[in-house]
Subunit: 259 residues, 2 copies
Amino acid sequence: MTQKRINRAAFEPAYLQLINILREQISKGLFRAGDCLPSESQLCKTYKVSPMTVRRAINALIEQGAVSTVQGRGTFVRPLQLSTAVFGLDQFQRLFTEGADTKVKILEVGIISADAESAQKLRQPEGTRIILIRRLIARGEEPLIYHREYLVYDSGRPVVEAEMEVASLHGLFAGGEAATIKWGQLSISTEELTEEAAGLLKAEIGKPAFHLEHLFYDFDEQPVSWGGFICRGDMFKFNAIVGFVESGVNLRRGKTASL
Amino acid sequence: MTQKRINRAAFEPAYLQLINILREQISKGLFRAGDCLPSESQLCKTYKVSPMTVRRAINALIEQGAVSTVQGRGTFVRPLQLSTAVFGLDQFQRLFTEGADTKVKILEVGIISADAESAQKLRQPEGTRIILIRRLIARGEEPLIYHREYLVYDSGRPVVEAEMEVASLHGLFAGGEAATIKWGQLSISTEELTEEAAGLLKAEIGKPAFHLEHLFYDFDEQPVSWGGFICRGDMFKFNAIVGFVESGVNLRRGKTASL
DNA sequence: AAGTGGTCTAGACCACTAT
DNA sequence: TAGTGGTCTAGACCACTTT
């Protein structure tokens, strides 16, 4: 086995090279699940790097889920676990970033009286005036997503501004400024298309759809927006990868979770 | 503003304390999206820690998606982005770890002739003998998931062993030994319940269901298992949180992604 | 030139596990 | 006791951006 070495002249920093060397060795089967990696001091000598650099590489592998450590015993390769899979909203984001033929059509903006459910979600008394926005997101002529959103009505802030700031879909997905929102809860469930949604999405009533529900809070921990994206089930899919893929790992954050 | 300090006597290491201090300051609104954090050398002085410790904290915040850095300019608080949400299979895992009343019932184990689709997925000629395993996963008396899995038939390895090793569901979810599997692709789609699935899951035909499809590869990059979990749509939900939640962040890996 | 992020060193010290 | 992981220091050097 030809021992790989750290190339100090390379653009790639030493800790990254070490991460990829170790990942490759695991990936090649040199170390299998349950096996013990060389000790950190051993790695220092082998690759001629300082303890801190080795530690950094090991920490990254731990975060990736590739290995786990036990103090006083060693570093062990973890077996593959489905529960470490992470599914993202990449497909949604791509809709708004790539291919500019994605159109967001505002179907309705208005002030309505909060029903029991929206009042509870937004922590407002039932019957309070709240804002309702309904949108249809299409790619080309094909409607893909129906979005319904309920916003707290703040008399100090005009509806248009609220719509621009809080509810700009492009911003939320592609990285605009949702500076008023501190955090949010998301959930994905599956539902049958209602008559309303089916009509808008040009699909059959009762067909399965993804429902991405969201509830956003501001910096005062008050709900400001509640709503959901109804997505045609035949047009969306959530993907993930577990385990050790061949290609080297770069600096992007861990959508490719391991083990 | 009373400046928080690092407590050297505490169990919590300095870099973790610093992470939580910075997260709290962002969470409290001291730094808003787009704002510039104090420089690293400034943080060194303020909290009386070495550059490496500050760097480690900042790196963690970057991985969490909370901030981003620009060389020569500074560290900036990132706005909330939906696309950073990560959905996991925690609910599946819980099914197999918590509450031992989860039962996996083997409905069928047999050798069949590969049809076009399974042959293609497993990279075998059509008509090859492959293993089919059908399972029903129930909590108490309530059937929740119907699992169908196609395995490459290896004459050197008896079916029982293949089933134990490769396909032990508990292992895959809870962390057993799937040492023969190197990596896998997963995808979640939504489908209507077929007559077969509906019957097994005691649900209505045509009702929406989640379909978690999996394709596993061994260390030779050959497919070994293809299959899918059909999950009653009314029993499952995938959750995620984006942005800055109040509670302190601990060492667990980042299911709670930020930004 | 001064300030920023980014990497790295060569040790130190501690807690834990094995023997 | 010796070896392991885990944290931390006090600087060094580099690349970059701003003034």
